[in-house]
């Protein structure tokens, strides 16, 4: 449905920084929810705005359906692309009522639908997002959540082929964000509208998407379904950005990598040869912590530095030599801070990748600063 091919765009921001999209390509199938995930400045918003036609790419093509909207010397202006878009600030027009806001896209359409048709379509769209009955309310009197719904209704009212969402949930408070996340997912699944979503929140991306593209420095570093992205990160950056975990770096040996003063058994990609640098990322929920040894493979002895009770789990930090390992244990387990513990990395969860040199910094530094 949507094909983006070798998109390039560079510009300098007001503060002199350079932002760029470097050769981004991806395809979104009809009816799918596709998310561009990455930290700020990674080029995800620029990519989205290029699809919308609000930015003019330097090169590359963008096609919606069979029609090339950008590239090959043609550029379809934004208002002639069949797209609905929700902005981060919602961009609800303050001088209009709820009805007028939602009716605007239909009133701008050519040919313009009849008054009765507009009324019916607007009511349908408002009902879809749960704003029925508020038609005559002035837009500035809406709450944040209501403005968000209205922005969504406005984007959907003329049944566009493509829906673009630019961090639509980031301005809501936590509880409301969670609720809107569910509603948004259900709405998209129900309408089967092709959707491109931009966010820096990995939980949102995992929850909402059929496919996720992780972006870094203007390029897509990994693309895949939520499970794949989380469980089989293709790089240190992707592993670090999507979820937390312990990074073990070492040299490839037969059947594993050298780390933690010994060998950690793991599955290795076929292109890694012995002696090359590899990286193993261990998600906290896959690390098992025990008070007594069970003499299983990949079991190491460490010292429990932190065991914080968080209700649904126990957040543990274990030091093995100079490495800090993060683990998530069941809250009923009884462990004391400072005691010796046995940590197991179940072999089925250990998949190494080529080391790209990326390391999460926060945890290590916290302890070093404490000791200094």
């Amino acid at each position: 449905m949507l094909v983006v091919d070798q998109l390039h765009k560079t510009f300098t921001t007001d503060r002199g920084g350079v932002r760029a999209v470097r050769g981004v390509s991806f395809t979104v199938e009809e009816g799918r929810f596709y998310t561009l995930l990455g930290p700020s400045g990674c080029g995800k918003t620029t990519t989205l705005r290029s699809i919308a036609g609000l930015e003019r790419p330097e090169s590359g093509t963008i096609s919606i359906g069979d029609k090339v909207v950008s590239g090959n010397g043609s550029f379809v202006p934004p208002h002639q692309r069949d797209i609905g878009m929700v902005f981060q600030s919602y961009a609800i027009w303050p001088h209009m009522s709820v009805f007028q806001n939602a009716a605007f896209p239909l009133e701008s359409a050519k040919p313009r639908p009849s008054k009765a048709e507009i009324k019916r379509a607007v009511e349908e769209a408002l009902t879809l997002v749960g704003l029925e009955g508020l038609e005559s309310r002035p837009a500035p009197q809406l709450s944040g959540g209501q403005q968000q719904r209205l922005a969504l209704a406005r984007a959907l009212v003329r049944r566009p082929r493509l829906l673009l969402l630019d961090e639509p949930l980031s301005n809501l408070d936590a509880k409301l964000r969670e609720r809107m996340r569910i509603e948004l997912r259900e709405l998209q699944r129900k309408l089967r509208i092709t959707t491109v979503y931009v966010t820096h929140d990995q939980a949102e991306a995992l929850f909402l998407s059929h496919s996720i593209a992780v972006m870094h420095d203007g390029a897509i570093v990994q693309e895949g379904g939520p499970r794949e992205i989380y469980r089989e990160p293709a790089s240190g950056f992707a592993a670090d950005f999507v979820g937390s975990g312990t990074f073990l770096a070492g040299e490839v040996t037969s059947g594993g990598i050298t780390a933690l003063g010994g060998m950690v058994r793991c599955t290795l990609p076929t292109d890694l040869k012995p002696g090359e640098k590899a990286l193993l990322v261990l998600r906290p929920e896959n690390v098992v912590v025990r008070g007594a040894p069970e003499h299983r493979p990949n079991e190491f002895t460490g010292k429990l530095e932190i065991a914080a009770f968080l209700g649904d789990h126990l957040d543990c930090i274990v030091s093995i030599g100079d490495v800090l390992v993060r683990a998530r244990a069941h809250p009923s387990i009884s462990l004391r801070r400072g005691q010796d513990v046995f940590v197991e990395f179940p072999v089925e969860h250990c998949v190494a990748m080529r080391d790209d040199g990326w390391r999460p910094r926060a945890l290590q530094r916290t302890f070093e600063e404490d000791e200094a």
Binding site: T13, D14, A52, G53, L54, R56, P77, P78, H79, Q80, I83, G84, M85, F87, Q88, S89, Y90, A91, I92, W93, P94, H95, M96, F104, P105, S108, A109, P140, A151, R154, A155, R158, L164, N171
Partner: protein, 582 residues
């Protein structure tokens, strides 16, 4: 023993607590008295004088002044003209300024950023100078443009002249349009561009978006800009006097001047005219304030800084660029060239062949003339004194308003704001009525430079307040509290901490008040005499007696010096991040 202890504690509490608010209250009361004397007293005298025989209430109550002012058949014409003139000025300035702001803020017109410099034009070209320049350009018989057009089309006389209502509106509206540009640029910047982007994404074209979203969202800002320009047009003296009076198109300020400088000075009639002008201005200012607060509520829905966004307008960007160039030519290029042209000629005629006789004679003559020398000396001296006094007084008042919780500080704020509603010429009339009244014989400053000092002090107090309070609001109170915590007295802290931190803002506001004082005309023209004449009045008077060469050369020199001063302000402001408003 217990009662003794209680007594000691009570005494300690007294010495610790009581004197402080006491002293603070005294300071507030003192300042309130000063401000009331400066700002409110002249107004009271104006109102009383308006109802007094010969402008003096002590000679008896009368309504004759109003009868004189409004009794003639001219009254209707006066109101009609003033309304059309103010409305026309507001509309023209709004159209030009908003169009410009849209082009610069929202399109990809080449070199658009360079046009931001336009906003300083009204500072470097005083109203009196631009008015005279446009007379040189568009006067029916002697205008350079008029002459060129009538020659090209073989007419005996140009089809238009500056001496008409459209001419007046053109001269004033064009002169004020950069201020609208400044206001609307800010409005565009504070408007979320995604409001417009979402209209585009809804299928609306650029024009449709402009009409249905951009302009309605900016409506309060547009209305308030037009209103404030209409008020400024109405308050201004230059165009009504230099163009309106010869064309027999009476407007308020022109009529006030006529009442005072006719066959005999009629202070009562001038007062009655001033009253109406002030009431109209007051209504306008109140409406403006309401609109502004509404537009702020409108604009700050999300209340964050937006990244600027430009619409790609394709080939139209060359059209808009040409528009910007044409505007600069009209606003600065032609008027300045006309002044230079006139300043080089031995006598003035709209004839380019006269350039063969061009010389610097006018400049030598102007610089050497004692009248100019005195005007320059007085202007610089008055400007410096006024700027210093305003800055000092408003620094203290602004500090009390923004940094203390003293009772009565709201009153100080209100008093210091009053003068913004008094047009320059009305203030001049009020000061005449005040200092010529019998009760003020003991303060004989009428006819001296001191009355001008008082006048500028009153007029520019609101400017100083605005500059100082916005700077002080940004000054974190803990910086000062640290000063007191370190053992500094209030005065020490103010002198060693507050003042140095505010210095850049104070310097910028000093320079700005200096400039506006030097160019002040509406009040000065009523309050000066041969000895106390100031530069702007010199230009005005020499124009009235037909010394065009001298007027032109003086204007050129004034513009050049103001460019230098403004360059200094810009350096100071940008180095210290101080915003300066026109």
């Amino acid at each position: 023993m217990t009662s003794q202890a209680v007594g000691i504690v009570a005494a300690a509490a007294r010495t610790r607590r009581l004197p402080r608010p006491g002293r603070g209250t005294l300071v507030v009361l003192g300042l309130a008295a000063v401000l009331a004397y400066l700002a409110a007293y002249p107004l009271a005298m104006l109102i009383l004088g308006t109802f007094g025989v010969d402008g003096e209430i002590s000679k008896g109550f009368t309504l004759d002044n109003f009868a004189n002012a409004y009794g003639s058949g001219r009254t209707f014409t006066l109101f009609e003209n003033s309304l059309i003139y103010a409305g026309g000025v507001g509309l023209l300035a709004l159209t030009l300024g908003t169009g410009l702001a849209w082009i610069v803020e929202r399109t990809n017109t080449p070199y658009r950023r360079a046009f931001f410099a336009l906003s300083i034009v009204p500072i470097i070209i005083p109203g009196i100078v631009s008015t005279i320049a446009w007379i040189f350009l568009l006067s029916g018989r002697i205008g350079l443009i008029s002459k060129a057009i009538s020659t090209v089309f073989g007419l005996s006389e140009a089809p238009f002249t500056i001496y008409s209502m459209p001419g007046m509106i053109w001269a004033e509206g064009l002169h004020l349009s950069p201020l609208v540009f400044l206001l609307m640029t800010a409005a565009f910047q504070s408007m979320d561009p995604s409001l417009e982007e979402s209209a585009l994404m809804s299928g609306a074209s650029t024009l449709h978006t402009l009409r249905r979203v951009t302009l309605p969202v900016l409506a309060p800002a547009l209305a308030s800009s037009a209103l404030i320009m209409a008020i400024r047009g109405l308050e201004s003296f230059e165009v009504p006097r230099l163009i309106g009076t010869p064309a027999d198109i009476p407007v308020f300020t022109g009529e006030i001047y006529r009442a005072l400088h006719g066959t005999s000075a009629d202070y009562g009639e001038a007062g009655a005219l001033s009253m109406t002008l002030m009431v109209v201005t007051l209504i306008g200012i109140v409406a403006y304030q309401r609109l502004i607060s509404r537009s702020e509520r409108f604009a700050t829905i999300t209340g964050k800084a937006y990244r600027p966004r430009q619409i790609d307008i394709g080939r139209w960007r060359y059209v808009t660029f040409a528009g910007l160039l044409l505007y600069v030519i009209l606003l600065v290029g032609l008027p300045f060239l006309a002044l230079v042209f006139v300043s080089l000629l031995p006598y003035y005629a709209p004839d380019l062949s006269l350039l063969e006789k061009a010389s610097m004679a006018n400049y030598t003559k102007t610089i050497g003339w004692y009248g100019v020398q005195r005007g320059v000396m007085n202007s610089v001296l008055l400007g410096a004194i006024a700027a210093t006094l305003v800055t000092m007084l408003t620094a203290v008042v602004a500090w009390i308003i923004t940094k203390t919780k003293l009772r009565g500080r709201g009153l100080l704020d209100a008093l210091a704001f009053i003068p913004i509603t008094i047009p320059g010429m009305v203030l001049g009339v009020a000061l005449i009525l005040q200092y010529l009244s019998p009760a003020f014989r003991i303060i004989p400053i009428y006819g001296t430079l001191w009355i001008l000092v008082i006048c500028y002090l009153i007029r520019y107090m609101p400017y100083g307040m605005r500059a100082n309070s916005s700077a002080m609001v940004q000054l974190h109170r803990e910086l000062e509290e640290a000063g007191s915590a370190a053992g500094g007295s209030w005065l020490t802290t103010f002198r060693r901490v507050t003042m140095p931190l505010l210095r850049p803002a104070l310097v910028a506001s000093w320079l700005y008040i200096f400039i506006v004082s030097v160019r002040e005309l509406g009040a000065s023209v009523l309050l000066t005499n041969q000895d106390t004449i100031v530069l702007a009045v010199t230009i005005f008077e020499q124009y009235e007696v037909g010394q065009l060469g001298m007027v032109a050369s003086l204007s050129v020199m004034l513009i050049v010096s103001l460019v230098v001063v403004v360059a200094v302000i810009q350096r100071v402001s940008s180095r210290f991040g101080v915003r300066q408003e026109a």
